[in-house]
Symmetry: C3
Subunit: 156 residues, 3 copies
């Protein structure tokens, strides 16, 4: 039996990456009560770091939206692990925090992070609608263009 | 019957703006258990974006404090919507995250975000005292000077 | 009777600083349910601000790791106050948010924040493993090199 969310992922041909493990004293996610806190995810794809550069200089808004979507795919991959593999246990995407590596003068961080927001609704429907903050930063680990972290609520 | 907090708002002549709706796949607030997560609010006033520029260059600390206060007014407006209109249901302002669009060399982000912190205590009294983080950023959506997000606790 | 965590602190010769009080309308920590939200802690030591400057310019990665560790010591000092002095009540370090004051081109924020992550595991063992986000910023209050905030879970 496949879960509803897994069926939707298949239906939309969305492939989740493997859930990467940080090589340090932090972990990809922590469950506390009904909440899951997922670590900031970067633009990792198949074990390779992509989208290294600044938005508004090295990447257009549209490219950066894809970068944000990739971060969100990694968030969902971690969330799946936090749910013991059953994404149907996700009751709500609660909050996303989006950090955009911004070239001087770039002020469309909100459009970039829409790439992550849109994926959440594509995958989880109305339960994917979330609170969020989107801000510019001058630098991110490995020089990536976008980092997104998240808080999620699971069914009890 | 007017609530206690609404009466205090009236008493202090504090007018909350309308609670703006984001035009995207995210929402202004999400309730999870007793917590409300409110999206990052910017310096919007009567549907217009104000305070576009950098603190320490385009705006003084005092002006930026007013910008932070405006963000906090928008947070409370969203919180009121999350409470079904009854701000007396707010048990505690839990955490504010303050992002200050900073000119090179500007290091008084904490003084700027006091504009948001002070409003919370003005409106909610001791229940308005909160944990917070205040950091500098090089850019914010629409080029605004300040963005503030928040976590709040409601009565059960 | 000394708690287990206090004994471990003594054993490892880790001295917690005094828990500093902000001189403003915010507070060092707020407890909501089982969660403690601790305000962003900077590189304060014995009432003095240390590590003022940018990582990758004024400080090496190794120096900045020590700065992050100092922020984490301050987090634990605040957490101890939130627990009424009994750190054995900490069930889990849930989430750290690390902000690194970064010189242009510096992209090793993750290595810097490891200084905070490592201390959490040194002090709390497996319960110290946490979700986290590490980002670069162009400026922090008082010009410090690192700021870290945190969410913790207490026993019921």
């Amino acid at each position: 039996m496949t879960g509803l969310i897994e069926a939707r992922l298949a239906d939309k041909n969305i492939q989740l990456p493997g859930a990467a493990s940080p090589a340090a004293n932090y972990v990809p996610w922590v469950v506390s009560g009904n909440l899951v806190f997922v670590s900031g995810q970067i633009t990792m794809e198949d074990g390779e770091i992509r989208y290294q550069g600044k938005v508004g200089e090295d990447y257009s808004v549209e490219e950066a939206r894809q970068a944000a979507r990739l971060c969100a795919l990694n968030l969902i991959a971690q969330l799946r692990a936090a749910c013991g593999g059953d994404l149907d246990r996700v009751r709500r995407v609660v909050k996303l925090g989006g950090f955009v590596n911004s070239a001087p003068g770039f002020t469309e961080q909100h459009l970039v992070i829409n790439g992550a927001s849109d994926l959440m609704v594509e995958v989880f429907g109305d339960a994917g609608r979330h609170a969020r903050a989107a801000v510019g930063v001058p630098a991110l680990p490995f020089g990536v263009a976008v980092e997104v972290d998240g808080v999620f609520e699971l069914t009890g």
